[in-house]
């Protein structure tokens, strides 16, 4: 029994994957959910593998989620945190890559502030590379766990209407969701002020809502993005207060929806800015399920990428039950 549509060496983004490959990851994540419910949350699958979490941007939740995924598969993990880019003091990304290769690391999970950094690393080392977020480009495991959460609730993804709300311009989570959902046949919309949407958004094949009320009327689920304080300081919006008044997802706004909307948020939340507390903690919020699914999805990705070597498989034929 072998899985169709192998993933290749790396997971750099959802734009490069086919619908079958995405489906494979989501299906593989299902049995991994169960492992996190056991008393002994560990399987020996990646025993002896070395995985480095190379985080150039501070991120507790994503890194911890990956760490759990790695340890529950019995891998050995090492965390490397660095705050520099290639131009600041410290090692360049190229030299970091070469050093990792020299230490015979099996897999690298990288988060970096520059778009394209994960691909840059993947092209230079033989280890598997998993993109945990590169600049404003993609955050594929987040997109996958969002889709898994949606699929758990609706039973399927095609035809589901998902509105991604907030700072799409600077969001790698938004991009990964757009590519992934479209490949799985969902209908995707974005909603936010035009100053926070890419100028070319109309060419992405998504519906654009300029008012949150319209998005709420249309959608089956809302994926609410975190609004970052820096955007206000950089002048993209005048104030967080105004953002909340005009675009915030509140209980009153949701009550006017024709149906119960599923609420997702990649976290961490700015309560009272893009999302009100009673929505975040409300009955239709699946934000905590997203976190649980995150570990399962990451375990699935690690499992699928750490593929065996087919040439040894030939030698091993005959070993069976």
């Amino acid at each position: 029994m072998s899985a169709a549509g192998a993933l290749g060496k790396d997971l750099l983004g959802l734009e490069d994957l086919s619908g079958d490959q995405i489906r494979l990851i989501l299906d593989t994540a299902e049995p991994f959910k169960e492992i996190s419910e056991r008393a002994i949350k560990k399987v020996p699958t990646l025993r002896g593998s070395t995985i480095v979490n190379l985080f150039f941007e501070a991120s507790t939740r994503t890194r911890v989620s990956f760490e759990f995924a790695e340890k529950r598969l019995s891998a050995d993990t090492v965390n490397v945190a660095s705050t520099g880019s290639s131009v600041s003091k410290g090692e360049t990304l190229v030299d970091t890559a070469r050093n990792l290769e020299a230490m015979r690391i099996d897999m690298v999970v990288i988060r970096h502030g520059a778009s394209g950094a994960a691909r840059f690393l993947a092209e230079r080392i033989e280890s598997n590379v998993i993109n945990a977020g590169d600049g404003t480009h993609e955050h594929p495991t987040q997109g996958l766990l969002d889709m898994l959460t949606l699929r758990d609730n609706f039973g399927h993804l095609d035809g589901i209407k998902v509105a991604i709300c907030g700072d799409v311009l600077h969001s790698r989570v938004a991009r990964s969701n757009i590519w992934g959902l479209k490949k799985m046949g969902a209908e995707v919309a974005v909603c936010g002020p035009r100053s926070l949407l890419p100028n070319a958004i109309d060419e992405f094949g998504v519906t654009v809502f300029e008012r949150i009320e319209d998005a709420i009327q249309w959608a089956d689920a809302l994926n609410i993005l975190r609004l970052q304080l820096e955007r206000m300081h950089a002048g993209y919006i005048p104030s967080l207060r105004e953002y909340n008044r005009v675009f915030g997802v509140s209980r009153e706004r949701l009550e006017r929806a024709p149906k119960d909307l599923l609420i997702l948020h990649p976290g961490p939340m700015n309560r009272g800015v893009e999302i009100d507390s009673d929505v975040a903690d409300g009955p239709h919020s699946v934000i905590l399920d997203q976190v649980t699914n995150g570990v399962a999805v990451r375990m699935a990705v690690l499992y699928l990428l750490a593929g065996g070597k087919p040439e040894l498989a030939e030698a091993a034929k005959g070993g069976g039950r």
Binding site: S2, A3, P31, E34, T45, G308, G319, G320, R321
Partner: protein
Amino acid sequence: MPSRQTTVLDARAMDRVLRRMADEIVEHNDGTDDLIIVGIQRRGVQLARRIVACIADREKVDVPSGALDITLYRDDLQTVGPRPVVGPTDLPWAIDGKHVVIVDDVLYTGRTVRAALDELADFGRPKRIGLAVLVDRGGRELPIQPDVVGKTVDIGDGERIDVLVDELDGKDAVVVAATGDA
């Protein structure tokens, strides 16, 4: 090219064997107390359900059952090539202090059973673990022996033995075919 297949057990024969296996399991356990039947994915699961049904029929007791997917515990994951599909594991009952009987369709090298033993150890500490297999084809690579055997079949290199179950394959049978055939 038509596949040359020899049927070792047809549906009726298979049913008789399973009934006998169910009786043996109950006999070894001196009854149905503390018994849990766990099938190994995939076809072991269907056979386990049949055995549970036989026991219910005979003893009028519903013995607990579960399913075990051992893919993540395989010892050959590094060499097997593209990742095998992982099936569901479902052990709804605590296994501490119980008599767990592992059910599988074909026993060959014994590595699958070893993986199942490792996995069960992560769930708890049964009082006793037994092994029931429909077909024993010899060729052990590990010191593992079954407690209950449906049929012992001697086949050569270049042949394989397959168990078919109605739920997955459309019919019940045990067949021998040359390897290289589908």
